[in-house]
Amino acid sequence: MAYFLQQFINVLQTGSTYSLIALGYTMVYGVLSMINFAHGDIFMVGAFLFFLFVSTLKLPFVPSMLAATVLTALLGVATERFAYRPLRGAPKMSAVITALGVGVLLEHLTLAINPYPRHIPAMFEGSGTWSAGGVVISQLKAAIIVFSLLMMALLDFTINKTKLGMAIRAISWDMSVVPLMGVSVNGVIAATFAIGAGLGGIAGVLYSLAYPVINPYMGVMVGWKAFISAVIGGIGNVRGAIVGGYVLGLVETLTIVFLPATYRDVTAFSLLLILLVYRPYGLMGKPKTFKV
């Protein structure tokens, strides 16, 4: 029993990372109907920016995390402005290929600056662990999970209860009518990228706290997993992306429990292929929740 509870905590931790990043995929898909394959690398850049502030510039934790988040958000806005906006009228395939290119560019730019893996300094050595009935959870892990959930609640509120959220949803329904409401479509799309990339940056920071050795390719596999999470929840569906991350975390953890650990990624990608064939709109939504 304790073993399963322990695994459940792992599900929450992995799932939180997937969900935070999946939100970026799903939000961009919602407004532009394109898969932003550079998003996993945005997550990676978040971790490296955090390294820059906290280790190279020796800033304290909170300002470092804030600065990394803001800069990652701006990077997201810049990729949209300079790489995707010029292609808005072009076939979606062009934008997707461009996104792949942007991703590789970010990886190699980071690699050029950081030829070797970097180590995030341990910052919370004093923090202890809680244990009960054989289940152990470090306070750091608990904090990461709680903070991720908080960010997702905040985003859910923004999407469902604020005017910006209404505008984002309106764009996903029919972008052509939105200017007639007095809303700048470009402004709202930029805000969407800022939020999605900012959450990716936060995920990068939190991930590097849990796994402090970072490298320029760390975003590739995590990015795929987050993408799979978004597909599980129905891409374009915000709550679906949140749930999808935890579902994938659960599936992966169950795989490790019952099969050799090397089967984890096989299971994840098999799930992706099965979903794309049989339920491309995900497990939660009905078909056409969003106009595609």
Binding site: R169, L180, V185
Partner: protein, 241 residues
Amino acid sequence: MGERPGEPLLKVTNLTVSYGPIKAVKGVSLEVYRGEVVSLIGANGAGKSSLLRAISGLVPYGGEVAFEGGSLAGVPAHKRVGRGITHVPEGRGIFGNLSVMENLTLATWQRKDKTGIAGDLDRVFTRFPRLRERSGQPGNTLSGGEQQMLAIGRALMANNECMLLDEPSMGLSPLLVEDIFQVIREINAGGVTIVLVEQNANMAILASNRGYVMESGVIALSGSRDELSSDPRVIDAYLGV
């Protein structure tokens, strides 16, 4: 309002709209004065919607659109709403994934006056009680008539001086069409200047002070309500007697 009498609220000069090789509007000039209802009639494909889309800034155009005496060249569509132009598009443009209330709220994006917004919401709900009943429902669950009410309600929430209506009677039963034209008269009586695009030429001409007839991208005829409704060419082509 500080303006010389006789200066048009909306002035379109030699306007052209093209979609690639297709020339949809080929040099249209027209004026709309404060307080008027101006009808714009013409067959399907004549270029009426394209003309409205150019005025509201949704499509690039040649020529000139001026509002309140100032050119709108280079002013993007969303800012034209802030200038005072509201466009209710053909097909209504309801956001089906947003609730009725959210559709109405989104239309106030450019407004900051909270009390004014609340007052307008109350007025919309009083005029269209069905929208109040359905305020929490997604837009795509409304009937065609309710969607048209919502589209007009949304336009009222923008609280602008000039309203462009593109075929508001399209697809509605005769009873609802009567209702829509009554609403248009009320809105105009409230001081809003209206450009009314219609295929329902008979009712549109009767509801307007003046009108223009478009044929394949150009203005073929124009005149007052009485001139148009008695013009043999109009009767022949559009009033189908």
